[in-house]
């Protein structure tokens, strides 16, 4: 028996990780060099959440899917031209700043206020989705805070799978150490699920889906409400990127075992 779900995916936009990302410290704190110049993409973790949400909604007729995204309107619009081709959803844009390390509490407040007044949303049917490592460059708290502000106490992080049961309860696989999953059973909605990668491949670009989404996305963007993210007096002690090391070599006729041994040695060095 299908469950009717109201799924809200919180997904920010981030600088395309394929570009050269360079940390800098500006007057507003740490950020990325030329961040406004870089093309943006939907946060990859949250994108997984969106694809899982769309699959869930399609398996449960009558369900609804909203994508709540906070960012500069122009950037959101550009990102939507790609995302909108993937899966059907209704966009709820919030015109706000991008860049740096915004305060998770302020961001969560804006998101929760927006979700709380979504027309047609039944909170008893709500599954709040987002990326596990998405917010404020990996602080992993915004989604939890949004859930708390909405009064949702069943929260799961690092989710790779959700299986709905006929009685409305569902089983969740959460990532734990050692490459294993913790299996939980939740009595039912509402719940918060911060997704890891899930199990679905990125959907193909489908122009028909894109056209259908655009009928609602363009008007929504036109009347996107503006939001200000308060810094709340935060100060930043230090920020650093993981060190990259590239050592390219062309080799031929090495066995897989030899390559693996070399990699192990290199990682261990």
């Amino acid at each position: 028996m299908a469950n009717i779900l109201h799924i809200v995916v919180c997904a920010g936009i981030v600088s395309d990780p394929l570009q050269t990302l360079e940390p800098v410290t500006g007057p507003a704190g740490p950020g990325l060099k030329n961040e406004m110049v870089l093309p943006a993409v939907l946060d990859p973790w949250a994108a997984c959440a969106l694809y899982e949400a769309a699959a869930l909604a399609s398996k449960n007729p009558g369900s609804k899917l909203w994508l709540v995204s906070l960012g500069p309107k122009a950037k959101l619009q550009q990102v939507m031209m790609t995302v909108a081709q993937k899966v059907p959803f209704e966009l709820v844009p919030i015109d706000g700043p991008i860049g740096g390390f915004p305060d998770a509490h302020s961001t969560a407040a804006v998101l929760a206020e927006t979700i709380a007044v979504l027309p047609g949303l039944d909170k008893t049917k709500l599954l709040l989705f987002g990326g596990w490592e998405s917010d404020t460059r990996g602080a992993s708290v915004t989604l939890q805070l949004v859930g708390e502000r909405l009064g949702i106490s069943d929260q799961f992080q690092g989710v790779d799978e959700i299986s709905l049961r006929d009685d409305g309860s569902f089983e969740v696989l959460e990532r734990v150490e050692g490459g294993k999953h913790q299996v939980s059973v939740c009595a039912g909605t509402p719940a918060v699920l911060g997704w890891a990668t899930g199990n679905l491949a990125e959907p193909r670009n489908n122009p028909q889906v894109g056209m259908a989404n655009m009928r609602t996305i363009m008007p929504a963007l036109a009347k996107a409400k503006a939001a200000k993210i308060e810094p709340n007096g935060l100060s930043y002690v230090s920020v650093s990127l993981p060190k990259q090391q590239r050592d390219t070599r062309v080799v031929k006729d090495l066995s897989a075992d030899q390559i693996a041994a070399e990699l192990v040695e290199w990682i261990g060095a």
């Binding site: 394929l18 050269t20 110049v37």
Partner: protein
């Protein structure tokens, strides 16, 4: 398989389809100009009945643009342009609003001597070099470079703009989409035009969920047929739609696509104490080979675009680009300002240099051609972006005129409006002046420079005559026992033996010194592929490079396509035919014209089709 069969070649099934008013193939400066003109007119009066959709009642015009690249900011080019058409569209344009844009502040032209001694110079050129070296500083030679005392007027971009095309496209695109009239869909390659007889009725998008050959696999999704009242073809010189129209309808008598160049460039971050000011523009010639022109454009934020052009008239089949570019930036005149820089990104693109000689039919029933693929690039002034933008605006004005008059997009109506505007414009005048300016290059660099100067200084009234053969005949095959032929064989053996790239081994075999890789500015080509923007290849699409007759490839001795491949996506295959890796292709299109074989005497043996992805850099 010929390009005209592409629509028929795709799987015949019941495809999804939709109707729109205007479908555009490709988003670059030309389409940007077209859509900007359209949206400006609509914004001035959204209630204008001319802008009511003919296919969706009660809605404004349905205008869709499909772009192959994953993002509209992935355009590959650092350019200097006079920008007159761009400024006409944006009278209040402030370059500060566009990342990487800056007004031209100074300009110079340099002749570069060869400090290494590996470049292939004629006796005449060597004699000239000798006198310059003897004259030294007295005649103005510094750092092995002779700076011309003035920049010829036809080259001068004074008052113009230095742009990063990716950033410019992004800036234009965001304004267009904010208007609400236009949708630009990236990551969506157009496979072919939809023909009904000779009329173009829209475009077919590429199939997804197919194998390398295009056969359906799991998750097959048929490309949609987008039926349009007007199809705007702005997909560039190697675009699938333009190629298919040329193939089916032919080119005007005497026209052909025979002159090409590959532009390859680095984007380098200069050191903090760099003396180069934003807006500085350098043009160069003479090094690393006499036929190779070079450029350096300084953007704001200490970024510089520096690159070279390898022309089809460089008859030697050992033409290559990446290694040459590394030698170019190490020339003393450039190295002194670049040596402490950091490579941020890299890119390459084919340029259609035939100009008016390569102009296709500009319009037909249901379609119009704009931009570089319509022969708008002016090869005398070395300018293409502004001309492309201008052709787009001319079509935009024409379309508005036809919409307001309630007239259909027939060949006759488009000729009376779009073509008429273009013929009366500065683009056309420039095209005439440039028409034969480069003829002399078929006879070498000295003759070419004389011909260019003649045309440039007389407004095209005087020029040299030349027969320009098809691109495959411009590649002069080596005699197998010639010195060059033997070096080529050595290079091929070296490439196979130690896994080096063919072009790298080839230049080493020809006496060029090894590149002192430093991991910062001088990096291997494979590392460059991973810098700045990386190469994208969405899974599920067919290979877009195919070999029409593999037997011709196996018999080919030169393998120029492999040597010239910008991304090393073409390598020597085990069976003698090149092997293609879509995941490395930057869609520069160089293989299309760097092929020494032809199954029909005019076109190359390489079929360059529609494909998704390519270089994915925001700084290009």
């Amino acid at each position: 398989m010929s390009a005209e069969d592409k629509a028929a070649e795709t799987i015949e099934i019941d495809r999804p389809s939709m109707e729109v008013d205007i479908a555009c193939a490709g988003f670059g400066p030309a389409t940007g100009g077209f859509l900007t003109t359209l949206t400006k007119a609509w914004n001035e009066n959204p209630a204008d009945p001319a802008f009511e959709s003919r296919v969706t009642q009660g809605m404004p015009l349905q205008v869709l643009c499909y772009e192959r690249a994953d993002d509209i900011s992935s355009g590959v080019s650092g350019v200097v342009t006079r920008g007159q058409a761009i400024r006409a569209s944006f009278p209040a344009l402030n370059p500060d609003d566009i990342p990487m844009a800056v007004p031209v502040s100074s300009e110079r032209v340099m002749y570069l001597l060869d400090p290494i001694g590996a470049s292939r110079r004629s006796a005449l050129l060597r004699l000239g070099d000798f006198f310059l070296r003897i004259g030294g500083k007295l005649v103005g030679v510094r750092d092995y470079a002779f700076t011309l005392p003035w920049t010829p007027a036809f080259l001068n971009k004074h008052g113009g703009l230095v742009l990063g095309i990716g950033q410019f496209n992004q800036w234009v695109g965001s304004q267009l989409m904010a208007s609400g009239l236009v949708q630009i869909w990236p990551g969506t390659p157009v496979n072919a035009p939809l023909f009904s007889g000779n009329k173009v009725e829209g475009v077919r998008l590429s199939d997804q969920g197919v194998d390398k050959s295009g056969a359906p696999t799991d998750g097959f999704m048929a490309g949609m047929d987008v039926r349009a009242q007007l199809t705007v073809v702005g997909d560039g010189p190697v675009g699938a739609v333009g190629q298919a129209i040329d193939s089916k309808l032919g080119l005007p008598p005497g026209h052909s696509h025979r002159e090409w160049a590959l532009g390859m460039k680095f984007v380098i971050e200069l050191p903090e104490d760099s003396p180069l000011k934003p807006g500085t523009v350098w043009h160069s010639f003479g090094f690393p080979e006499p036929e190779i022109f070079g450029f350096l454009y300084v953007h704001p934020e200490r970024l510089v675009s520096v690159g070279i052009f390898i022309p089809s008239w460089m008859h030697n089949p050992s033409r290559t680009a990446y290694r040459y570019l590394q030698h170019y930036i190490q020339h003393p005149a450039l190295w002194k300002v670049l040596k402490d820089g950091t490579l941020r990104s890299w890119g390459a693109k084919s340029l259609e240099e035939s100009g008016r000689h390569g102009e296709p039919y500009l319009c037909g029933d249901g379609y119009a051609r704009i931009g570089e693929g319509s022969g708008s690039t002016n090869m005398l002034t070395g300018s293409g972006v502004d001309e492309a933008w201008a052709t787009g605006t001319q079509l935009g004005e024409a379309v508005i005129e036809l919409l307001r008059a309630g007239l259909p997009f027939t060949q006759e109506n488009l000729a009376k409006t779009y073509e008429k505007r273009r013929r009366a414009s500065w683009v056309e005048r420039g095209a005439h002046e440039a028409e034969n300016a480069r003829n002399g290059f078929q006879g070498g660099i000295v003759k070419g420079m004389i011909g260019m100067a003649l045309a440039g200084l007389t407004g095209g009234r005087l020029s040299l005559k030349a027969h320009i053969p098809p691109p495959h005949k411009q590649i002069r095959p080596f005699a197998s026992q010639s010195a060059e032929g033997l070096k080529l064989k050595d290079a091929a053996a070296l490439a196979i033996a130690d896994g080096r790239s063919f072009h790298d081994a080839m230049l080493s075999a020809r006496g060029w010194p090894e590149i002192p890789l430093d991991g910062r500015l001088l990096v291997t080509q494979q590392d460059a592929l991973l810098l700045g923007g990386k190469v994208q290849a969405m899974p599920g699409f067919a290979d877009h490079v195919a070999f029409r007759n593999p037997q011709l490839c196996i018999a080919c001795g030169e393998k120029t396509c492999v040597a010239m491949c910008s991304g090393q996506a073409l390598t020597q295959g085990d069976d003698g035919a090149p092997a293609f890796e879509r995941e490395k292709c930057v869609h520069c299109g160089a293989c299309l014209w760097n092929c020494g074989q032809s199954p029909d005497g005019e076109h190359s043996n390489i079929d360059f089709r529609a494909g998704a992805g390519g270089l994915h850099s925001a700084e290009n």
